[in-house]
């Protein structure tokens, strides 16, 4: 059995968790030898049908306040000296260290909310170097300039270079598209399965259609960042 751990930070809204669960369901349906542990902060995770061979961990919830800062959603951390971010960060690390995933799939934020994934990424690099790390991105976020700023400020480019084997585009080209199309999902599945079987040939096949699923190898990182930024505003 191959083990996949999925991280989806999920502050509010249903979009992220729904997308990640669609990808998980497709993965499980395509291969009976996969197990998935989903780590999420979504207060809505229960609203979805949870497939077999998948269990989930729910972290204390965060909400996004105006300044893009995050704070505890239900618990009042200021008054009571509860370090929600450290708790979340430790819970994620605990899950990774004990579950020992063959592949870690991260949604959107390369280092997680407020870097909460950093400890886990460091741990995997040190202790489980064979674990493949992939980042799944939506191709629509903000305006390219704003996005590049945020990414530079948060060190996302460095994080991708240091920790990620591949970056996948989930195929959502338009803000109105909540679900990735089935083509993109099956591309992601193909890429993940190819990575898990360590087959270069399969991987190449899987990523051939770059418009749906650009998977830059590390040495093409600089190329990738530009490509992705541009494709954001190209009509689908």
């Amino acid at each position: 059995m191959k083990r996949i751990m999925v991280y989806s930070h999920d502050t509010f809204g249903l979009g992220n968790i729904r997308r990640m669960l669609s990808i998980c369901t497709n993965l499980l349906d395509s291969n009976p030898d996969l197990l998935i542990l989903l780590v999420s902060g979504s207060p809505m995770i229960h609203s979805f049908r949870i497939p077999n061979r998948l269990d989930y961990i729910k972290l204390p919830c965060l909400r996004r306040d105006e300044a893009e800062g995050y704070s505890a959603r239900s618990l009042d951390s200021d008054i009571n000296d509860i370090d929600i971010m450290r708790l979340r960060s430790d819970l994620i690390l605990t899950a990774a260290a004990n579950f020992k995933p063959d592949l870690l799939m991260v949604n959107k934020k390369p280092s997680g909310v407020k870097n909460e994934l950093q400890g886990t990424l460091d741990y995997l690099k040190m202790n489980l170097p064979d674990t493949k790390n992939i980042l799944v991105l939506r191709n629509i976020l903000d305006s390219p300039a704003a996005r590049i700023n945020v990414w530079e400020k948060n060190g996302y480019y460095d994080a991708i270079l240091s920790f990620y084997d591949h970056v996948l585009d989930d195929g959502c080209r338009s803000l109105s598209l909540i679900q990735p199309d089935s083509g993109a999902i099956s591309k992601i599945t193909d890429c993940v399965l190819a990575l898990l079987s360590s087959s270069e040939r399969k991987l190449e096949e899987a990523v051939k259609e770059r418009s749906l699923c650009p998977v830059p190898s590390l040495n093409r990182m600089s190329n990738f960042t530009k490509v992705t930024m541009h494709s954001v505003h190209q009509p689908a």
């Binding site: 269990d55 961990i57 505890a72 009042d76 509860i82 605990t94």
Partner: protein, 397 residues
């Protein structure tokens, strides 16, 4: 005030419901309370949560009917799964720095998963109050004693826990005597009474109209989650078909969400054409239907009892008798008090059920719980006890 609640939740909905009833009361009594629920339940969402409560869910385990536990939906070695849970609990305990930790039912947690956290708190945060929440009845007393000896529970109660909240009454079933608790442990037991249910329900007329009743009398048959309720529902349906032309009452049967599809189909095989009854899988508003009933037929789980007693309804209890004797003991004690009528599942037949129903229907007003010493203010009492335990920390010694 920070409160951490641990509820292991392997099977059924009972534990999480009880824990949330308490949490709701605490939230309304103490506006400053911050509560974090640690649970293995995938159902934590199904229930209304109070403000300033969040939950952490760790991987879910299942209890097998043969006894023993295993992963529920993530088939990895059980040890790895338990390692994740144990460490997640520990992380949470360490960062949350609770004023009080309430452990539901399992003193050491499932497979001892709470032990490391309890010991850590005892040595690093000695001011944190450690409380065990104990249901009125666990199982056959001798079995519990053996299990507790084997599991090292007695030293935990004596040396680690600061208090034991009994969600029951020592007059009805005394754990100090039954489970042979030491004098030191006995001093820690706080009888909180049964965790009664909120009785705000829809008007009886409205519910009865909705059921399209043909008579003036309603019997509600409920088997809780429904995992093992088939025999009761089958016997009841056979009883209805035997009485076919003489039915003077309407019936509502609730199979519960955990009944298998096969069993549901089995129930539909009975020829019930034209009979005044309704069969449903589940209703989120069970209290309104129970309240509209003249008689309830049910199993003997803790929550079901609390519902019946809170509504002060006539009831025939057919308790579960395996793998644990908890329901049987509870049904016997409450039947001795005259609050319910008990029918042992071994004696269950359509004829016998009719005899019991007939007797119950002819009875007068049901006995009132408070007249026989049954306190249903458990949640209020627990909340008060939590307040007292925590405030002791803040007063100069």
């Amino acid at each position: 005030m920070k409160i951490l609640i641990y509820s292991h939740d392997s099977y059924g909905l009972g534990h999480i419901r009880r824990s949330l009833s308490i949490a709701r009361q605490v939230a309304s009594d103490f506006p400053s309370a911050e509560q974090l629920l640690l649970t293995g339940s995938a159902q934590a969402h199904s229930f209304e949560k109070p403000d300033r409560l969040d939950y952490v869910k760790f991987p879910t385990i299942s209890k097998f009917s043969a006894g023993g536990y295993g992963p529920r939906s993530l088939p990895i070695p059980f040890e790895s799964l338990m390692a994740i849970r144990e460490e997640m609990i520990f992380n949470t305990v360490k960062h949350f720095k609770a004023d009080l930790v309430l452990v539901d039912k399992a003193p050491a947690g499932i497979r001892g998963e709470m032990l490391r956290s309890l010991k850590f708190l005892k040595s690093e945060y000695p001011k944190t109050k450690l409380v065990l929440g104990m249901r009125d009845i666990e199982d056959d007393a001798l079995l519990v004693r053996e299990e507790w000896k084997r599991g090292g529970v007695y030293p935990l109660l004596e040396e680690v826990y600061d208090a034991i909240f009994l969600y029951g009454s020592r007059d009805i079933y005394d754990p100090v005597y039954e489970y042979d608790l030491s004098p030191e442990t006995c001093e820690k037991v706080i009888s909180c009474g049964y965790i009664g249910r909120d009785t705000s329900v829809r008007p009886v007329e409205q519910v009865r109209k909705e059921l399209n009743m043909k008579t003036n009398t309603l019997i509600v048959v409920t088997v809780g989650g429904g995992g093992d309720g088939l025999s009761i529902l089958s016997a009841y349906l056979e009883m209805l078909s035997l009485l076919r032309n003489h039915l003077s009452f309407d019936s509502l049967l609730v199979t519960g969400p955990l009944m298998s599809q096969e069993q549901r189909l089995h129930l539909q095989r009975y020829d019930m054409k034209g009979l005044p009854f309704t069969l449903v899988d589940f209703t989120p508003d069970m209290m309104s239907y129970l309240n509209a009933a003249d008689l309830i037929i049910s199993m003997g789980g803790y929550n079901t009892f609390c519902e019946i007693l809170s509504l002060n309804k006539r009831a025939i209890i057919v308790p579960r008798v395996k793998p644990r004797l908890e329901q049987l003991i509870r049904a016997e004690r409450f039947s001795d008090l005259g609050l319910v009528r008990m029918l042992h599942p071994d004696e269950l037949s359509p004829e016998r059920l009719w005899k019991e129903v007939n007797c119950e229907m002819k009875g007068g007003e049901p006995v009132r719980p408070k007249d026989v010493g049954v306190d249903l203010n458990g949640a209020v009492n627990v909340s008060r006890a939590i307040g007292q335990l925590v405030s002791k920390n803040r007063l100069p010694i």
